[in-house]
């Protein structure tokens, strides 16, 4: 894992001191609220529906037990005893008081954490594949790249006042678990014909009210050119991105209006000049960072305990089926801890649950934890012999829900229960669907199904890339939910297609029920997943199931 050196430590402390002073200046009136706003946003502090909300970065989703315990302590001391893990590998505290925030930031700095650039019109927390450094299918660990980008973008003097926010994601595997194509810049580690490692760079992806799948701007960028190239993209965007209309300010609109060719040409022109500004220290730094992400000292031991538990315990078998993923070391497994108990708030973890996960990471997981954009926690390095013990401990803490990748493993934004942008509630819909799925009792038969819910067009719940996407809107004062089908956030990225008119909040769960029934009737066999069936048969049969009356009236 990356460890702060004195530079990082001093930077973060200094930043807390600056923010402390900014809070004081806001209170004494020398800063107006309008002026204070970008400053608090650069430090992750939002003003929400009921209170301030502090969004803490978990860079590329990696943390250790000490950091997780500190999050638990913060949740208890300054908040209401829980935190909410988000779709961008952040954790949010929903009830801090303004005057306490500098102290919270100091407590974060104690464990090498911060809330810098988790909001505002700047380069946000850089995200990465949550299985980074562990996945069997990985070309290279994306985290050194993400850490280099984090350092480069932190407090970047040119890019703190961009036209709009800017999100970067990095994936190190051919399987894209980081939704890179839905980011302002998506970076995928690839190998060229000569076997060299480089980056495929896409630009202009994004969800929100105008969803766009990113376009590749460079299919192979040599590793050493990363910073000057990304800096060139940002410079062009900063200069020509629209500032007249907030809804047209993201880079996806810039790329769309100028065309990818013209945009690429501007970037390449800049890049020629920009390259001269970097003289190699960034490469040396990258090598230093890379050594910090070395693989853990794997244990060599027999895995018999795993096989015995598998033969003996059906609950364990279920857990293994869904919550384990292949590790690059065959004696190890990646264990996902679902924060989606049926009926719970997706992504919420109590201080006590955070401590359980921290203890398990320390005892069985080489002290590493990951947070996924799917709002779950991951123990990336567990020796197979220890999985039964981990499972038993998770069961005791009510954290052993065996539903990763299934219908109840729902992504949902905080929605109108917390967020002042929301137009509808998301959490109760997620809870309702998960509860219904449990009643149906066929979640495992249904298999791989990604349901994603957003409470407004800003799409924090990634509904556009859900196999079933649900978007909550306000229609004349009543919550109304549009459904999209066929979205995909992976390397075969696609945006979901709207089914038709929206549903009242009470009708959403029955609608999802009918979609699942329809899929089960239509699938060619048990191995054909929901998305594959949808791609094969198209929208029509699902539409007919959703709107039976309309189908009778119009013949489809």
């Amino acid at each position: 894992m990356y460890r702060y050196d004195s530079f990082d430590r001093e930077f973060v402390r200094n930043r807390v001191a600056q923010f402390r002073q900014q809070v004081e200046r806001r209170i004494d009136g020398s800063l107006t609220e309008e002026e204070f706003k970008p400053l608090r946003l650069m430090n992750g502090l939002y003003l929400q529906l009921h209170a301030y909300m502090l969004r803490v970065a978990i860079p590329y989703g990696t943390l250790d037990s000490r950091q997780m315990r500190q999050l638990a302590r913060i949740a208890e001391r300054w908040d209401k005893g829980y935190g909410h893990f988000t779709t961008r590998q952040n954790v949010q505290f929903n009830w801090p008081r303004l005057k306490d925030v500098p102290d919270i930031l100091d407590a974060l700095a104690d464990v090498e954490m911060h809330a810098i650039q988790t909001s505002g019109n700047c380069v946000r927390n850089v995200t990465a594949d949550h299985f980074a450094g562990a996945a069997a299918d990985e070309i290279a660990d994306p985290r050194p790249t993400a850490e280099l980008l984090r350092q480069w973008s932190t407090d970047h003097p040119e890019f703190a006042f961009l036209p709009r926010k800017f999100k970067i994601a990095v994936s190190g595997s051919p399987v894209d678990r980081a939704v890179t194509r839905a980011h302002d810049i998506g970076i995928r580690i690839v190998r060229n014909g000569a076997g060299e490692i480089g980056y495929e760079v896409s630009v202009g992806g994004g969800l929100g009210r105008t969803p766009v799948i990113g376009t590749v701007i460079r299919d192979f960028l040599p590793e050493g050119d990363l910073l000057p190239y990304v800096e060139s993209i940002l410079q062009v965007y900063n200069a020509i991105g629209r500032r007249d209309n907030k809804f047209k300010a993201r880079i996806k609109i810039t790329v769309g209006e100028h065309g990818i060719e013209a945009f690429r040409q501007r970037v390449e022109e800049r890049f020629r000049i920009q390259r001269r500004a970097f003289e190699g220290a960034d490469r040396a730094r990258f090598e230093d960072i890379r050594t910090m992400f070395a693989a853990p000292a794997y244990i060599e031991a027999p895995t018999g305990a795993f096989d015995a538990a598998l033969a003996r315990d059906p609950a364990f078998r279920s857990f293994v089926d869904t919550n384990l993923h292949p590790h690059r070391n065959p004696d190890y497994a990646i264990v996902t801890v679902s924060l989606k108990a049926h009926g719970a708030t997706p992504g919420d973890a109590t201080a006590e649950q955070m401590r359980v996960i921290a203890d398990l990471a320390e005892r069985y997981g080489h002290d590493e934890i990951r947070i996924s954009h799917e709002q779950n926690c991951i123990l990336p390095h567990v020796h197979r012999r220890d999985v039964p013990a981990v499972h038993a401990a998770l069961r005791e803490a009510n954290l052993a829900t065996a539903n990763v990748g299934l219908a109840s493993d729902i992504i949902a934004c905080p929605g109108m229960d917390y967020c002042n942008l929301a137009t509808a509630r998301s959490i109760p819909i997620a809870q309702g669907i998960a509860t219904r799925v449990k009643e149906r009792g066929d979640e495992r038969q249904v298999g791989d199904l990604k349901i994603k819910i957003s409470g407004c067009v800003n799409a924090c719940g990634h509904h556009h890339v859900g196999h079933i996407g649900i978007l909550g809107l306000d229609r004349a004062g009543a919550e109304n939910y549009q459904i999209t089908l066929g979205g995909d956030g992976t390397e075969t990225a696609a945006l979901g297609e709207r089914t038709g008119p929206g549903f009242a909040s009470d009708d959403v769960v029955p609608a999802v029920d009918r979609l699942i029934d329809t899929y089960l009737e239509l699938r060619s066999d048990e191995d054909e997943a929901f998305l594959a069936t949808y791609r094969r048969v198209g929208m029509q049969p699902f539409k007919a199931a959703l709107y039976p009356d309309a189908a009778l009236a119009t013949g489809g």
């Binding site: 407090d155 003097p157 040119e158 500004a277 960034d282």
Partner: protein, 147 residues
């Protein structure tokens, strides 16, 4: 934007009166370049392409870039690009500015920030001096980036 005197310059040492005695010529990137006298000071909007100013570098003593709003960061990129293209003259940011942006201005290649007296009153000198140590804690420097 109001450009009435007295102008206050913010530099690393704090507030000072403007020591530039010459005129500023508003320049939009168009018109006869050869008509510009040597040693001139240019006023430019933050939308002027840096490349258009390159042919004038030898003749300009000062470029003043407008910041129409503290939320508009285009001037930072323009400044840095001018430096990358080889401009060595004086570079000034002017307009709506926060003391907290002073370090960003310096790191982007500006020599100084010009503010009006009302802003100076509301954001007094010590708030700017708080960010005058702009060379420390700069990740770009650590990554070996030249301006």
């Amino acid at each position: 934007m109001e450009r009435g005197s007295p102008r206050i310059l913010v530099r690393d040492s704090g507030f000072q009166d403007d020591d530039w005695r010459g005129e500023f010529i508003q320049w939009s990137g168009e018109g006869d370049r050869s008509a510009l006298p040597h040693g001139v000071a240019l006023d430019v909007e933050n939308t002027v392409p840096a490349e258009d100013i390159v042919p004038l570098f030898g003749r300009i003593a000062l470029i003043r870039i407008a910041f129409p709003s503290h939320m508009d960061g285009r001037g930072f990129s323009l400044a840095r690009y001018l430096r990358l293209l080889g401009y060595r003259g004086r570079l000034r940011a002017s307009g709506c500015f926060l003391a907290d942006q002073y370090a960003m201005a310096r790191r982007s290649g500006f020599d100084e920030v010009e503010i009006d007296p009302t802003l100076a009153e509301r954001q007094p000198e010590e708030q700017w001096l708080f960010r005058a140590n702009w060379r420390t804690h700069d990740y770009r420097e650590r990554l070996g980036r030249r301006l």
